[in-house]
Subunit: 336 residues, 2 copies
């Protein structure tokens, strides 16, 4: 029996928001695993802002997805055929399987998913790359101290919502920036943020002044652009700005907007630091154990927005991120 794979490939480099014509969806026979390989049936696709950056030409922290290649994606799936000694049929695994129904893997960078710990989608959220990014970005790069003010942009997103909760767990004042009343209410009432700012409801700088009156000690940025500038204007002495993402800029078709007031780093004796989560691979286990513990105790909540659909729905689901339509971790669950 030959399985039919549905595959989403990059057809063109997008200018601005990705269009339908930037993708090519096709059905093709699934490859068979060779010796030392296994076949995965993909069940859950992680849908991430960074995907937009992988679609651009030029090496960033990872090489770009080339035209004609299967779109890169982290995913969880089940091993349905194995010729690999370490993976057995029935295993639930996480890996960069790509936007397709079936993937062949040699096991490199593939990790088991313990669904007794939490349902699979949580392993793409709080216990996945999102949770790890929030954990190391906030704690290692941001180095918040109890009592300090931590401001998070994109706070209702997969990484931001966890980063803010970790800040709160660590005894900081957690202030989230998000778009819309519903998200803000969720941050404060469900996740325990100390304050939430709806950037759509008024001037961000004056709202920051109200919500972070002593200034910002740690700014965890997922947004960039005007949001980053507003935060830079409110830094406390010695502040740390953590550069995690810049979703406001990923679809810019002209020149990107750099922070015009970056000299505030001098005024505030502050630093702005970038990081890439893969550098922490040898400490993932420490973080997952801690995050799972917080989930179990109820200190930490993971929220996944699971959209059911097929591979052909991926282009449209991706756009939700750039419209601000998602709350928590956005996942495409492939109907079986």
């Amino acid at each position: 029996m030959t399985l039919t794979n549905t595959v989403c490939r990059l057809a063109a480099r997008p200018v601005g928001l990705p269009k339908v014509s930037d993708w090519r969806i096709s059905d093709e026979p699934a490859a068979a695993p060779a010796d030392g390989e296994f076949l995965v049936q993909v069940e859950y696709l992680s849908v991430d802002p960074a995907m937009r950056t992988w679609m651009n030409a030029g090496r960033s922290y990872v090489p770009p997805v080339e035209i004609g290649e299967v779109m890169r994606a982290g995913a969880i799936g089940r091993v349905i055929e194995s010729r690999h000694p370490d993976f057995a049929t029935g295993d639930e695994v996480f890996g960069a399987f790509g936007v397709q129904r079936y993937a062949v893997s040699d096991g490199r960078d593939v990790t088991p998913v313990d669904t007794t710990l939490a349902p699979a989608p949580v392993h793409l959220g709080a216990l996945g790359i999102s949770g790890l990014t929030a954990y190391f970005g906030l704690l290692d790069v941001g180095r918040p101290q109890p009592g300090q003010t931590v401001v998070i942009s994109g706070a209702a997103g997969s990484v931001g919502s966890i980063a803010g909760q970790i800040a709160r767990i660590k005894g900081c004042r957690a202030v989230g920036i998000a778009g819309g009343e519903d998200k803000c209410r969720w941050l404060v009432e469900e996740l325990g943020f100390d304050a939430a700012i709806d950037y759509k409801s008024g001037d961000l700088r004056s709202q920051l002044k109200t919500s972070a009156p002593e200034g910002i000690d740690v700014f965890f940025d997922n947004v960039g652009g005007a949001t980053l500038e507003a935060a830079l204007s409110r830094l406390a002495r010695g502040a740390r700005v953590v550069i995690c993402g810049a979703i406001s800029q990923y679809n810019a078709s002209g020149e990107l907007r750099g922070p015009a007031n970056y000299m505030q780093l001098l005024v505030a004796r502050a630093s702005m630091t970038g990081f890439v989560i893969f550098d922490y691979a040898d400490r993932y286990r420490e973080a997952v154990v801690q995050l799972a513990d917080w989930l179990r105790s109820g200190d930490l909540r993971s929220r996944e927005q699971v959209v059911e659909g097929g591979i052909g729905d991926f282009p449209e689901v991706l756009l939700k991120l750039f419209r601000g339509d998602n709350t928590g971790k956005l996942i495409l669950a492939l109907a079986s």
Copy 2:
């Protein structure tokens, strides 16, 4: 006998380059020192890029010079009358005496100048704020390791020329960016920089690729704008960007140019950090002893460009900085 003071006051907040009408030069009777004060005859005025930032409204790392106030300036002068127990007539002193011929001081933040160690102008250069800024900015904020590549913008300026020499002394590859062949030759042949890039002679990014082929480990920035962007595009993994100044932006009348490619901080896992030299006041002594030692051994050279003139010449001398007309520390020596 009443002395006549010549004073340069800020008359208007400049838009772009300061114009003649932004200043008011006047003769007025010098104030007499009260009890606990002394009178200084100013001899050498330090002319610094940061002066332009002090002329803008709004608090930066120091309050702005208000309209009608004497223009702020670091200066060296001689005590000519004293009613202060710690300062005697004849003492040579450094302080923020302002752009004027005579200043009354209560001694706060005034330090003695040891002209047996080096002539007075050197105490505004390598042994003054410029040298201290280079020392702490490079060593404490930049943390260069032997063998690493340190790139300095504004390298022929007062701070940059010293920062580059310290990098070389510490066993780093020192690469300077400056405007014009003469400055570049001076950096390499006189100061021992490993390479110098004339930004006027061609594309800066490709010149950086040639002169820093392994990437930039420490970028010490005095310039900002396109220079900062070019350097960010060539950072080595884990690089430190030291934000010391942004002379290219100080006279911008529109919006400042932020680094559009600041996400390179993420790609390179790099940090960008601002600092203010005054924070290191309790360690000035350590630095001055070391800098004086390097001067004595010949490892470090201080160059001062001393322009002779009167207070009325200050506005024109200041503009030299923004035209790139100076090499080393720019000083206005007041004719006696």
